[in-house]
């Protein structure tokens, strides 16, 4: 087995473990799915009932729901790991730290995609935004946004998981870091819905991809340091 396939095997094993734990216990992601749905409802109260205004704000509300609930989901996924010293044991495995990080990112990515799969239809139903017409493009935007959120969120969740104030600290630290991701994802979604009249979509997608790459690399290098301390 080559080094790359071994890394991938380790990563998928860890991601599979996280997903299995989630499917059996439903401790992390399930509650944040409900949170995302309730958030969308509350957005409607805050900005409605003018349909045009809601539709115009749709891309922003969609991504706000994903980012806010996603951060909580990533924090919860890591918090589960601290029970019975499982996080310390993860650090003792004689495998590459980058592979462990990748595994945690893949688990988080699955959670982010599940959030997206819920929030997108809700945006269509509640805010009257015709996202289905741009489904293929939207899939690319959601995927790129989810990878970035999972990449940086996993690293920060690992850094804060042992702190007492982690529930407040994680969003506080993460929100400024994901600001460009939110901006690019919202802009890409809005541009997509408008039919990309000025040909800006590619630039936003490149920015998202660049963000994903930068955070994955930074996380791969530094996550192990957070594990070993």
């Amino acid at each position: 087995m080559s080094a790359t396939t071994r890394h991938l095997a380790i990563a998928t094993t860890i991601a599979g473990k996280d997903l299995r734990a989630e499917l059996r216990g439903r401790h992390a992601v399930t509650s944040t799915l409900f949170l995302a749905a309730v958030t969308m409802l509350i957005f409607g109260f805050a900005l409605g009932p003018d349909r045009d205004r809601l539709a115009a704000a749709g891309p922003g509300l969609l991504w706000l729901a994903v980012v806010l609930s996603g951060i909580l989901a990533l924090g919860r996924l890591h918090h589960l790991e601290t029970e019975d010293g499982a996080f310390e044991l993860l650090g003792l495995y004689p495998v590459s730290r980058a592979a462990i990080y990748l595994g945690k990112v893949l688990g988080g990515l699955a959670a982010m995609l599940a959030l997206g799969a819920l929030v997108v239809p809700l945006t269509v139903i509640l805010f009257g935004v015709d996202l289905l017409a741009v489904a293929p493009g939207l899939l690319v935007v959601i995927s790129l946004g989810s990878v970035g959120l999972a990449a940086v969120g996993t690293l920060y969740a690992g850094l804060t998981v042992r702190l007492r104030a982690r529930e407040v600290l994680l969003p506080l630290l993460l929100l400024p870091v994901v600001a460009p991701l939110l901006l690019a994802a919202v802009s890409a979604t809005a541009v997509l819905l408008a039919g990309d009249p000025f040909g800006e979509l590619a630039a936003w997608l490149q920015l998202l991809a660049g963000y994903d790459l930068a955070m994955l690399l930074a996380g791969g290098v530094t996550y192990g340091l957070a594990l070993e301390e």
Partner: protein
């Protein structure tokens, strides 16, 4: 002693630069009196960028060498940088209200990215406060500091493009007074202010560095005291100011 001389000269220089900028240099023809705020605004902005640059290098240095001095440098840079960048934003808003007609403009990339910059380094300082063990604190903070440095250029790109999407540039470049056509007196006032604030920056940073080193040795001594019998507790190091 040398540090005290530095502190006193910083105060004298800031007073002199303020007098020069307020009373000796004429006001800008277009912007009027508010333009004088920019001497402070630009000087603190440059020094804040310098601070965060120092912090970034020190964060990498800590992760490679685990040198406690690197952690103290990183902390000093971040803390002084936060003070300076907050002053930059404050002065910018005070200037923006009369000149732009608004405190805050979401279409200005520099303003929006500077706000994110402040939030990033406030987070850096916050996680330091919530971690007790010095080694863990330094490592966590160093990772956060490096991510902040990676994030900043992306923030800058995103808000610059964002402006392009929503509205054309509405306002003039606030740093236009620095361009070569600016009268020599304006440039002199700015450089004078920059020099004065550089002295203050140096004084603050050195003091914060020394304080951080003392805190580290006090924490070390306390931990050794907790592990060893009470008799062998090392005395706290004397500050040799």
């Amino acid at each position: 002693m040398a540090l005290r001389v530095l502190g006193i000269s910083a105060v004298v220089a800031i007073v002199a630069a303020t007098v020069f900028g307020l009373f000796i240099v004429p006001a800008d023809v277009n912007q009027g009196q508010p333009q004088r705020i920019l001497y402070l605004h630009v000087a603190t902005a440059w020094l804040a960028y310098l601070s965060f640059g120092v912090t970034t290098v020190a964060c990498i240095w800590w992760l490679i060498r685990r040198d406690p001095r690197a952690d103290a440098v990183a902390l000093a840079g971040a803390e002084v940088g936060v003070v300076f960048i907050a002053s930059t934003i404050w002065a910018g808003m005070m200037w923006g209200r009369p000149v732009w007609g608004t405190f805050w403009d979401w279409g200005d990339p520099r303003l929006t990215s500077t706000a994110v910059l402040l939030a990033l380094y406030l987070g850096y300082l916050l996680i330091r406060r919530l971690t007790d063990d010095p080694q863990r604190r330094a490592t966590r903070a160093a990772i956060i500091g490096i991510i902040a440095a990676i994030d900043l250029p992306i923030v800058h790109f995103s808000v610059t493009w964002w402006r392009g999407l929503h509205q054309p540039p509405t306002f003039g470049d606030p740093e236009n007074i620095l361009n070569p056509p600016a009268p020599g007196q304006f440039v002199a006032a700015l450089l004078f202010m920059l020099a004065a604030f550089s002295l203050a920056w140096l004084w603050l940073a050195i003091n914060r560095y020394r304080l951080a080193r003392l805190e580290w040795s006090a924490e070390d001594a306390a931990r050794r005291g907790a592990l060893a019998p009470a008799a062998s507790v090392a005395p706290a190091p004397e500050p040799n100011a």
